[in-house]
Every structure is written in structure tokens, then in C-alpha cells.
């Protein structure tokens, strides 16, 4: 989706809550305040914290030895390897795409720009199952090239390439949509100055643009990675669920769960939950650093 109203682009000087609570015009009565906080935090705890805690509690229910055995099990390790591989292909591809798309959209004017931005967002609004289906339609046995790939001994669907393709599809927008608003806000004067002073295009990007967008870039990479490693629907359709060969970690969780191996399923799930927590920590850290950099820049400009 045109998700998460790009957080980095909007890091202005945010007023602290005290700002509102000390102002009689914006202050709510104490019972309103604690009522709203109570209701919203109860909702937050029930719907978000409880599932998170459940993952770890269920994973460790049978003790550490069962937990560790489930993680070092060969099929689980194979799933980890495939998940890392899919992310390792999807990240650089979408990184290059994101930078190229953001450069074209943010630094130049052309007709149909808004439409192009919507197209970039498209994979967010397509159901993951449909994302998987399209590759089955193209590369599957009944697909456009179906027999050609099979005749040449190349398997795409129900094999690793299909999983990688589906992963790339669902993560296309992440880095681009982080960089586009950021680079639009920064304008192009600095780059133009560098070019006029004789720098090459690459030098300009490397020494002028890149330092300006590094936090946004990292932010996009972190979010892209989380989705690449966690994608379920799209890879499920193209995977064929062959144990040890075409199972990513989320698919391995599904298989274990459906076989009633709950402790093992939650053990693998806990690894992905840890990844999610790490993602949120990195995200918060990057937001903090980006806000810091923005403040320093404002102070520099003020002097």
C-alpha cells in the first residue's frame, strides 16, 4: 500500500506532549486523558503485544533443548538459507531500482510523473497471492513460456527462481517510496552546483546526493529486508512446498504448524519475531539519527 506515510520525510521539529498538556487551550481533563490512554493501550496490548509475547512463550514452552533442536534441524536451516538468499537478491535489485526511480522522479520534471509514482506503489496494493499467481501464469507448465523453460531444464515455478522473483515483486516499492519524498524535499540545487563546478554525474551522486539520502536509504533497506524475509502469500503460491529445497522460513512455519509440531513452528517463528524486533530497533535508531542530522543542518543554516 501507499503504506506508512513515509516517516523520515516528515521528521520536522515535533512538539513534545508537554507542549499540549501545559497549554490550557489544548489540555484535556485528567479523566479524558487517562480514559483515552487506557482504552488505546488496552487495544494496543491486546492486539499487538499479546501475539508477540505468545510467539516466545509458545516457542519455549517445551524448554530450551526442544527449542534449539527445532532451529538446528536441517530443514529449518535450509529454510533460513533460502530466506537469506531471497532477501540477498531482492535487496540490491530494489536498491538500484529505488535510487534510479527516485533520481528520475525527484530531479526532473516530466509528464505522467504522478502516474509513475502510483505504478511504483502498485505491488503494495496487490494481494500477495495474486503476486505469486502471476509468475505461475507466466512460468508455470500452462504458462506463456511453460514448455520452453521445461524443455531447457530450467525450473522457475516450484523452484528457487520463482521464490526469488515473488520476493522481488512484493518488495519493489520499499526503497523507492522512502527516497522519492526525501529527494524531492532536498531539491536539486546542490547537485546542479556540483555539475556546474565540473563534477561528473557519478561523482555528484557519490559525494553530494548519497550523503544527503543515506539515512533514508538505510531506512528503506531495513523495511525492504523485513518484508523480503517475512513474505508468505506470494512465495507460498510459487514454492510448491518442497522441504529442504523450496521452503522459506515462513513456509517452514506453516508446514510445522499444520503437522501439529507447534513448539518447532513457534521456534522458527521466534527467529522471525526477533528479526521484526531488530527491524523496529533499527528503524527507531535511524529516525533518531535522521532527526539529529536534520536539526544540525537547520542550525548550520541559521548561523
Amino acid at each position: 500500500m501507499a503504506a506508512t506515510a513515509s516517516a523520515l520525510g516528515q521528521l520536522a521539529a515535533l512538539p513534545a506532549p508537554r507542549h499540549y498538556e501545559d497549554n490550557p487551550a489544548t489540555r484535556d481533563r485528567a479523566w479524558v486523558k487517562w480514559g483515552v490512554i487506557g482504552v488505546s493501550l488496552a487495544f494496543f496490548a491486546g492486539f499487538l503485544l499479546l501475539p508477540l509475547a505468545t510467539v516466545f512463550i509458545e516457542a519455549l514452552r517445551r524448554g530450551w533443548s526442544v527449542y534449539l533442536a527445532a532451529i538446528v534441524e536441517p530443514d529449518a536451516l535450509a529454510a533460513v538459507r533460502l530466506t537469506v538468499l531471497a532477501a540477498a537478491v531482492a535487496l540490491p535489485l530494489n536498491l538500484v531500482f529505488g535510487v534510479a526511480a527516485a533520481w528520475a522522479v525527484a530531479k526532473f520534471e516530466f509528464r505522467g510523473k504522478q502516474f509513475l509514482i502510483s505504478l511504483i506503489d502498485l505491488p503494495f496494493s496487490v494481494s500477495p497471492v495474486v503476486a505469486g499467481l502471476v509468475y505461475v501464469l507466466i512460468f508455470g507448465a500452462q504458462g506463456w513460456f511453460g514448455t520452453w523453460f521445461i524443455d531447457n531444464d530450467l525450473k522457475v515455478v516450484f523452484a528457487v527462481p520463482g521464490i526469488v522473483l515473488a520476493t522481488v515483486f512484493v518488495t519493489v516499492p520499499f526503497i523507492a517510496r522512502e527516497l522519492i519524498p526525501l529527494m524531492q524535499a532536498q531539491g536539486k540545487e546542490e547537485e546542479e552546483a556540483a555539475i556546474v563546478l565540473g563534477a561528473s554525474g557519478w561523482q555528484t551522486f557519490r559525494h553530494v546526493t548519497l550523503p544527503n539520502i543515506r539515512w533514508g536509504l538505510l531506512y528503506g533497506v531495513v523495511l525492504c529486508n523485513a518484508r523480503a524475509m517475512g513474505e508468505f502469500g506470494a512465495v507460498s503460491v510459487v514454492s510448491g512446498h518442497i522441504r529442504g529445497l523450496t521452503n522459506t522460513m515462513p513456509l517452514q512455519i506453516e508446514i510445522l504448524y499444520n503437522e501439529y509440531q507447534f513448539a518447532a513452528a513457534f521456534a522458527v517463528a521466534s527467529l522471525l519475531a526477533l528479526l521484526a524486533l531488530l527491524t523496529l530497533v533499527l528503524k527507531t535508531f535511524i529516525e533518531w539519527r535522521a532527526a539529529l542530522a536534520a536539526r544540525e543542518q537547520r542550525e548550520e543554516e541559521a548561523q
Binding site: 479524558v32 499487538l48 502498485l122 517475512g230 512455519i253 513452528a265
Partner: protein
Amino acid sequence: MATLAHKPFRVLPGFRLTLGYTLLYLSLLVLIPLSAVFIKTASGGWEHFWNSISSPRVLASFGLSFGASLAAAAINSVFGLLLAWSLVRYRFPGRKLVDSLVDLPFALPTAVAGIALTAIYAPKGWIGSLAASHDIRIAFTPWGVLIALIFIGLPFVVRTVQPVLEDLEVELEEAAASLGAARWQIFRHVIFPTLLPALLTGFALAFARAVGEYGSVIFIAGNIPLVSEIAPLMIVTKLEQFDYAGATSIAAVMLVVSFVLLLIINSLQAWSARRIGRSA
């Protein structure tokens, strides 16, 4: 060479290269593959398409997907607004931690959320057993679908409303207060109209995500035909029966819905931007 005179002068290099690469990449990975859905549907003929999407089981899955997604988005709009309000307006211990964790549904893989929610709401789970003692079943019924969709949709509302709430001009509230408005009147007549476009955008984003959601739903849904099957699951089911045309017909309907929602969301966001621009 006459066309050269009309070419806009560009200082920065790389326009053709980056735009060309962007279009090529999008075409190969996204546009051409998605067009396969429509080409395949068209080649199956209208009658087959209609039969596929009007079978009772598929209709029931559309009903559940759209109904539960609407309900989840509505619930998230209420509680997401309250949560965004708490995070922006109030001091309370753990505020920053809650703020960071709101994005959990974006970061937590859907399959992980799915099995965790099932463990909680299944008849033997913590909440499920409580409900079962009152003869209420949550998991493996449409209620389970609703719960999963609430989980994945919450951050869309919070993260769309929160920045608008932060940008809201305090002066407006001060003016209203100095003119004698009560706090509730200020919220009703000053704050809420400004938040409305963002709230609707958050609602639409949460709805769009919920309609296509698969991983977090299929575990808790139980997938009982005519009762708790969602539309994306019907695509997978048809594929497993090698009914490619049937799967593609459902996918075509869902894609059209996605496109329409994308258009609505884009215009809502434009409206929201104009509204904020005016009030600022």
C-alpha cells in the same frame, strides 16, 4: 534538429538512463506479469469468468473478505485515532516504546502473526478458552478473520493520522478556546474536520491491505467453505486443483478492486494534503 530547440535544458545528467531503467524494471517485474492475469482471464471467455466468480463458494469468500475488511478498518479507525491521539498529546510512561512498537504488524511476518493469533484465540488458547466457557468460538470462524485483519491494519491508521495531528496548529484550538468553545466542541468542530481526510486515508489503506491479506488470516480462519474462506484463499485453492482459469478470474476481480482502491487512496491523500495546506 528542430526538436532540439524544444527540449528542456537539463543541468543534471541521467534522466534518460534512470527513467528508462525505472520503466523497464517496472514493466518486466510488475506490469507485464500483472497483465498476464487479464490476458488469461480474457482468453477463458466471459462465460467461464462469470461462472468462476459467481459460484456460491467464491461469492461467500468475497462477502467475507470485503465485510471483515470493512469492519476491521472501521474498528482500527476508532482505536487508531485514540492511539495516535495518546501518542501525540499525552505524557505517559512507555510512550516512546509504544510508538516504536506500533509498526510491529509491518515488521512481523504474517505467518508468525497468524499462528500466534491462532494460539491465543483457539478453543484451548488463553482468550479462546475464556470465550469457549461462554460458548463463543473465535478462531476458525469469521470472528477470527476479523481479529487477524484488525492486527495487520492498525498501524496504517495510526501512521496516517499521527503526522497530521502533530502538524495541527495549536493556535486554532487556542482561538476556539478563547471564544468560549468547550474542549469537546473544539474536537468536534476544529480538530476532527482537519483529521478527517487523514483518517479516511488510513481507513482506505487498512481496508486495501486487509482485502488482499493472506498469511495472518489462513491459520485462524479455519477455512471452512462458505463460512470462513477468504478470497485470496480461493485463488490458492483453485490453483491447487489446477483450475488456472478459475484462480485467474478471482485474481482479476481482486486486481480491479486494488486499482480502484489505489485511485481512491491517491485522491484522498491529495485531498488531505490540500486540507492541511489550507489550514497551515
